[in-house]
């Protein structure tokens, strides 16, 4: 019985927080490695459609992004509500798409220049006319590999 008595008499030991930094550092490193800094702010509404037969875009350094959609609310007064193209940080016309792709391609290392994918991030309410024009421009500069970026989900939800 002496054993129990002894324990009772002792003070409650403080919980050691010495390993707390380790845990936090572990989390920190996790987030540091998965972080990708957002490089362009969206000027257009960008609700992507859903699709189920998707493939992942594996390597970010091989992708050129083109955004299409209605201007966001604060820009609607100036630019209206017709879908527009966004390249980098500004609105662009269809004719600028080709130059933009060539410019982006020239920035990439030589060995990647032939394996680039153009990711089209298009709002689901945009019209196909604009997309057809963009595709035509992409064909002109021989950027034939495109990826229609979508969310993963049931494709029939697009119709509602």
């Amino acid at each position: 019985m002496a054993k129990f008595n002894k324990k009772k008499s002792g003070d409650l030991p403080a919980v050691s927080t010495a390993s707390l930094p380790d845990i936090v550092f572990m989390l920190l490193f996790f987030f540091m490695t998965v972080t990708t800094m957002k490089d362009s702010t969206l000027l257009v509404e960008n609700t992507l459609p859903n699709a189920s037969e998707v493939k992942k875009l594996e390597k970010k350094d091989r992708v050129i992004y083109i955004y299409v959609g209605k201007p966001t609310r604060e820009y609607q007064k100036v630019f209206g509500t017709e879908p527009k193209i966004q390249l980098n940080d500004k609105y662009a016309s269809v004719a600028e798409v080709g130059d933009y792709v060539l410019e982006e391609r020239a920035k990439k290392p030589q060995e990647l220049q032939n394996v680039l994918t153009t990711a089209l991030k298009v709002d689901k309410d945009a019209n196909m006319g604009l997309i057809s024009d963009i595709k035509q421009e992409l064909r002109k500069v021989n950027a034939l590999k495109v990826n229609y970026t979508t969310y993963e989900g049931d494709a029939f939800r697009n119709l509602q």
Binding site: L28, P49, N127, M128, K145, Y148, T150, L159
Partner: protein, 207 residues
């Protein structure tokens, strides 16, 4: 000689605070983007030199109008039936047994008025300028799905696993190169059985 006392400990109590600060910064700036989508190849702008003549029966036409309605092979069709129809067309294998075009693995109806074999079958997609992008993606998704269904079936028959799974493993950069070489051959084989021929440009036709 008297025993020396242990060196004074550095107070590491604030280390957690600093680490937390960094952690919160990265938490806020993180966007774990999982970009995925439908991969497509656009046709090259120069038309092919030899003008290939394609039989009308080997073309599966899909038209989308501005209201999102579908005209498949001159017939108004519900979007939910599209995949079924595309599978039936691709898998038809209309060429007679004994001819060089005969398709031995097709499980379709072998209707001589539909596609000869999957290598010849072409899906032609046309859309209106006012078609909604969402509708277009749904149609694309269903057509890719039709190809994937057939490829999965053949992959199951030949290798006992799904084509989509094999392809994902092949494209994943973390897969060891030894396995990838092995997969490449299989993926290529299945792709040859059902090549994706999805045309969005004008196709010249004869009857």
């Amino acid at each position: 000689m008297p025993r020396r006392g242990a060196p004074p400990e550095v107070n590491a109590g604030s280390m957690a605070d600093i680490a937390f600060l960094l952690l919160i910064f990265f938490l806020v700036t993180t966007t774990i983007e999982t970009d995925a989508g439908l991969d497509r190849m656009l046709p090259p702008i120069e038309p092919p030199e030899d003008n290939v003549v394609i039989k009308q029966k080997n073309i599966f036409t899909v038209n989308i109008n501005k209201n999102g309605q579908l005209l498949v092979e001159e017939e108004l069709t519900d979007l939910k039936k599209l995949r079924e129809k595309a599978v039936a067309f691709l898998d038809n294998g209309g060429a007679a047994q004994g001819t060089p075009d005969y398709c031995s693995y097709c499980k379709g109806k072998h209707n001589p008025d539909s596609s000869d074999n999957p290598q010849k079958a072409i899906i032609s997609l046309k859309n209106d300028r006012e078609t909604k992008y969402g509708t277009y993606i749904t149609v694309q998704n269903e057509l890719v799905g039709a190809y994937n269904d057939l490829r999965n079936r053949e992959a199951q028959r030949l290798y006992g696993r799904d084509f989509t799974e094999m392809e994902a493993e092949y494209l994943n950069p973390e897969t060891p190169s030894k396995i990838r070489d092995e997969l490449k051959e299989k993926v290529q084989k299945i792709q040859d059985l059902f090549p994706q021929k999805l045309s969005e440009a004008e196709t010249s036709t004869t009857n």
